[in-house]
Subunit: 198 residues, 2 copies
């Protein structure tokens, strides 16, 4: 076995992670080499374990290890509300906020003619069927405030126009602790238009 | 199996890598989850492979997969020159410079009273014995231009004072306070060619 090639192969794979370039991947691998027993072996094991067992929830698209993710399998989560997010990172962010007690629909992206991502790829027909069969009262569109995100939100709202569910979206405005001076113009404009009585 | 716990455990381990905090570790794990087949499984395999097979070269301290690293095992590498570096990252940086054709001694750190790192921990007696037995003509001290690096360089020069080897150090080109691993290849090559008597 060519040992330099093995280590180089590991560095190349690490460099494909977001936030790591070739140099930081090299430093990460060196740190792993120095802690082969305490860190590298357990990390390899944890990664193999998740790679083997992770699967997409058949209902909502969240990642778990069973057909149903822990949220869909939790009887304490309200079934009347579905929060639509672009990807699992956004679901995790919502969960960290601890404000939402309903269930999710993970799109896995946004509509994009360029990348040939249509409604089927995002599971939108499945969402529409779910809203009808579960008697969903409210669908919260928690998509990113980008052009693609908002285009997709409008498409979903149209697709659900015939349902009994109320369609809402996250409020736009000044983030908690946010300073006006650091906000972009669009956010300030949105916050102004949605101003409330003090 | 609690799937959220498995993924959280993986994020915690990733967050212990240099350059990755909790947030970037989460993003990295999400990217891995999205590419379970193409990236996550091969990365876990490559990491397990290196963790299992990597070992320190018994002669120079470089990391390889045999008792002798590829450099020590290579008959084309000159035996008359030994380049002393602080750690494997610096050896890799020297090799990328492609200017040095001899062999190495990897200290694995610098002398430090604070951390109880003495000459034995750095293999300095082993280096002195090696210089005598191999009839080394030149020992190049390629330590970082930091206080600890230069203190260690002086200690090694003193320890080798009785040997027949000429002691040199890398020349101008290494900035004050600079670390080898962050230098570009050309700078390392220039510093090596202009090396001076220590
Ligand atoms: Zn689910
Ligand atoms: Zn070696």
């Amino acid at each position: 076995m060519d040992d330099t090639r093995d280590i180089e192969a590991l560095i190349d794979l690490m460099a494909r992670l977001p936030g790591l370039g070739p140099r930081s991947a090299r430093r990460a691998v060196l740190a792993l080499l120095k802690k082969r027993g305490q860190l590298m072996a357990p990390l390899a094991q944890a990664m193999a374990n998740v790679a083997l067992n992770a699967r997409d929830c058949m209902v909502c698209g969240n990642i778990g290890t069973s057909e149903l993710c822990p949220i869909c399998a939790d009887p304490a989560r309200a079934t009347g509300e579905i929060c639509v997010v672009e990807d699992v990172a956004d679901l995790w962010a919502m969960e960290r906020g601890q404000a939402f007690k309903g269930r999710y629909h993970v799109l896995g992206g946004t509509l994009s003619a360029l990348d040939s991502v249509g409604p089927d790829e995002l599971g939108i027909p499945r969402l529409v069927a779910r809203v009808a069969s579960e008697g969903t009262r409210e669908v919260i569109l928690a998509l990113n405030a980008t052009v693609d995100g908002q285009t997709t939100a409008h498409y979903i709202a149209d697709a659900l126009a015939g349902s009994a569910a109320q369609i809402t979206s996250l409020a736009q405005g000044v983030p908690v602790g946010g300073e006006l001076d650091y906000l972009d113009d669009g956010t300030i404009g949105a916050a102004l238009r949605a101003r409330r009585r003090f």
